[in-house]
Symmetry: C2
Subunit: 227 residues, 2 copies
């Protein structure tokens, strides 16, 4: 099995949630059936949303150096459990060429698998500002449905509360409200395109198909390690 | 804050459970308040219990190389979320000198904090065979209480089921039974001295104070990163 390198820290909870889900999803009956996983969980990666707003340095060079370090340590396949950071995928791949599992592609493909053509997207400002999900959906003939500006602002506040460790009924209720707004606007499937969303919201909370980007990344990563 | 290096893969689920608990326990309100964590989750570490039985190679050299790699990558403090592997702590520290948070010392100190002098120990054969908890408890004036041989054999089977991903009511009931046996034998406090135990058993399941070794390692690690 190939060694996985995880570009992490964006945020730390999502990083280890991804690793735990991957471990749980592996068809393994003993420790030795699991892949080697190298994780660099570095929360000093410059803020992705601030960079998108032009208010902070680009995380690109930092992520490129992280990827080079992981490859040097033996990582054969890279994955990055942060949607927004995929803005810098080209810079990362140029610095550290080799297999890279793209969370945007994995999540978009999973969301369209059931035949939906209008897909609601829960993602942070930096991710939406870079057009990652909009471009991926349009390229596959689907239409992205986004929150309106006031709801998007409230969504951002909820994400920062989750990053600060608040994962209770209040955050879950807020997320359920954002989902309802996207369904009202015509979405037939939903993308949880921010790794913090899945920490409080699951399919059981939502009536339409909900694709958690962390789960989609797990599902896309496992066959790349076995290949 | 200092960078943590995690010697992992023993098993993989416990490794990421430790990282997730550490992240949740950090006094952090945003990503940037967290420490950098480097994880080498390598399930190819030779089997600790087989080595203890004289039926396989020693994991010592493998773990020493892992520790050197983590230090070279920038880890300033090392932690290893596997009790049994602490048999090889001296070999690891000789190869990669520097701060190392000992799970046996952290767990033993936490178990004795409430004044208990008879401490029940749930640990795998390799850990018991190396005398890690027995020596640590006796050195602090306490008496270790162990399962009898048939119960210990059943405990090992339960641990391997948990490693294989079975974490349901059956495994929880089995663990509760082992705890009852230790309490019957006079234990006033309990050590979950195997990282798989905490995946199915929590304090809520046990009437006496239960110290989960992963939680004890988390609590002992955080101040070492802040120092």
């Amino acid at each position: 099995m190939k060694t996985l390198g995880v570009l992490g820290g964006m945020g730390p909870a999502a990083t280890f949630d991804f690793c735990a889900r991957l471990t749980a999803a592996m068809p393994a009956t003993r420790d030795q059936d699991h892949p080697r996983i190298l994780v660099d969980c570095d929360p000093r990666v410059p803020d992705r949303n601030a960079a998108q707003r032009g208010e902070g340095p680009s995380p690109g060079a930092y992520l490129a150096a992280m990827a080079r370090g992981l490859r040097a340590a033996g990582a054969e396949v890279l994955a990055m459990p942060c949607n927004t950071a995929h803005t810098y995928r080209a810079e990362i791949e140029a610095a550290a060429p080799g297999p890279f599992v793209d969370i945007i592609a994995a999540t978009t493909q999973a969301a369209l698998r059931g035949g939906a053509t209008r897909v609601g997207v829960l993602a942070v400002d930096g991710c939406l500002g870079a057009g990652l999900y909009q471009d991926a959906l349009v390229a596959r003939g689907a239409r992205p449905i986004l929150l309106d500006a006031p709801a998007q602002a409230a969504f951002m506040q909820t994400v920062y509360r989750i990053k600060a460790g608040h994962r209770g009924a209040g955050e879950r209720a807020a997320m359920t409200g954002f989902v309802a707004a996207l369904l009202d606007a015509g979405a037939a499937a939903l993308v949880a395109g921010c790794t913090e969303v899945g920490l409080v919201l699951t399919q059981a909370d939502v009536e339409a198909p909900l694709v958690d980007s962390l789960d989609a990344l797990v599902a896309a990563t496992i066959p790349r390690l076995q290949a």
